[in-house]
């Protein structure tokens, strides 16, 4: 049961964030060029991701020595988690702009309208845009499923369940809203996932190096508390040292009480 929860929660939250970003592009294509091609594109990307999970998931779980596995997977989780933590902290501080799904949606719609409608019976442009977007976001989901899902017998089905549940939840919510899902608190979710990845990553790297944590698996709890406290202090210190340039806030970010950013590299 613990293995299941440990794998399902971070994968679900991270997958929601990635699916929301992908949905913004898919709904922009659907509303401007018709739904058939982008939905087929999403299905094609989901099939490719499913094949990747089926092939590599089994290989990772069954064929790698446990200690080597912990070290390699832990290192990957640390790298991934710290990157997300850095970006989420910089967004909370106000150095990077928060993701604005409304703005992304408007920009994508404008680009699609400028590109005109294709002549053929099938909208290959809409199909390729939806496929590419879903694949790009889906690869991060694939990575998390493969790493967090490989920590125990129950973890892999749990991680796959988390990712699939996020896909369905975002799909249903998106189709009901018929627009971008801009009210999802993406940065808070990313921060939480980053803390979890840093927790598991650090724990497994140390175990892979032969370290015996006091309390065994209970160490995950105090490591999680450490990383949570660390990131809260980091954001507080960052905010005390940074004066954001007044930027025009979107109505959505204002409603959520999020600070306007001054630029974003990714």
């Amino acid at each position: 049961m613990v293995e299941f929860v440990v794998a399902v929660l971070p994968v679900f939250l991270a997958s929601v964030v990635e699916c929301v970003e992908a949905w913004t592009v898919v709904v922009a294509v659907g509303l401007t060029r018709g739904w058939r091609a982008p939905l087929l594109g999403v299905a094609a990307a989901a099939t490719i991701i499913g094949i990747l999970l089926a092939v590599f998931g089994v290989t990772l779980v069954d064929r790698i020595d446990e200690q080597v596995f912990e070290l390699v997977i832990g290192t990957l989780l640390v790298l991934f988690g710290l990157r997300w933590m850095r970006k989420a902290a910089l967004r909370s501080i106000g150095v990077l702009a928060h993701n604005d799904e409304d703005a992304d949606f408007r920009r994508t719609v404008a680009e699609l309208e400028a590109s005109g409608r294709g002549r053929g019976p099938f909208d290959w442009l809409g199909f390729s845009i939806a496929t590419k977007t879903m694949l790009l976001e889906g690869l991060e989901i694939t990575f998390l499923v493969l790493t967090l899902g490989a920590s125990g017998d129950a973890s892999y089905p749990a991680a796959v369940t988390g990712a699939a549940a996020a896909f369905v939840v975002v799909g249903v919510a998106g189709l009901a809203a018929r627009g971008p899902l801009s009210r999802v608190p993406q940065n808070t979710m990313k921060m939480f996932v980053a803390v979890m990845l840093a927790t598991f990553g650090g724990f497994w790297v140390a175990e892979g190096l032969g370290v015996d944590w006091a309390g065994g698996a209970w160490a995950l709890l105090y490591l999680f508390a450490f990383w949570t406290a660390f990131v809260l202090v980091l954001v507080a210190v960052g905010r005390s040292r940074f004066e954001p340039v007044a930027a025009e806030a979107s109505p959505v970010s204002t409603a959520l009480g999020e600070p306007p950013g001054v630029g974003d590299s990714t």
Binding site: T75, V78, L79, L82, R83, M85, R86, A89, L90, I93, V95, A198, G202, F203, V205, A206, L209, G210, V211, D212, W213, A214, A219, L223, F226, W227, F230, L234, V237, G238, R241, F242, E243, V262, G263
Partner: protein
Amino acid sequence: MSRLRGLVGPLIGLIVDDGFLAVGALVVIAAIAVVADDRLFGTGDATGWALVALLAAITGISVLRAVRSADRR
């Protein structure tokens, strides 16, 4: 002194800034692997905490350097 600063600054930047956060994390993990392998330090709980503290330190430095850089602009 200024030469030393000119050398140390880019070196720290190489290890902790932006995408180089990854390089810093790898260096930390490699260093802890050496420590864990050493009889003097061993594989006790403190080695695990040293790993976590160093990872937190490079993340903190990376974020605060980005904050300072943005504040200058």
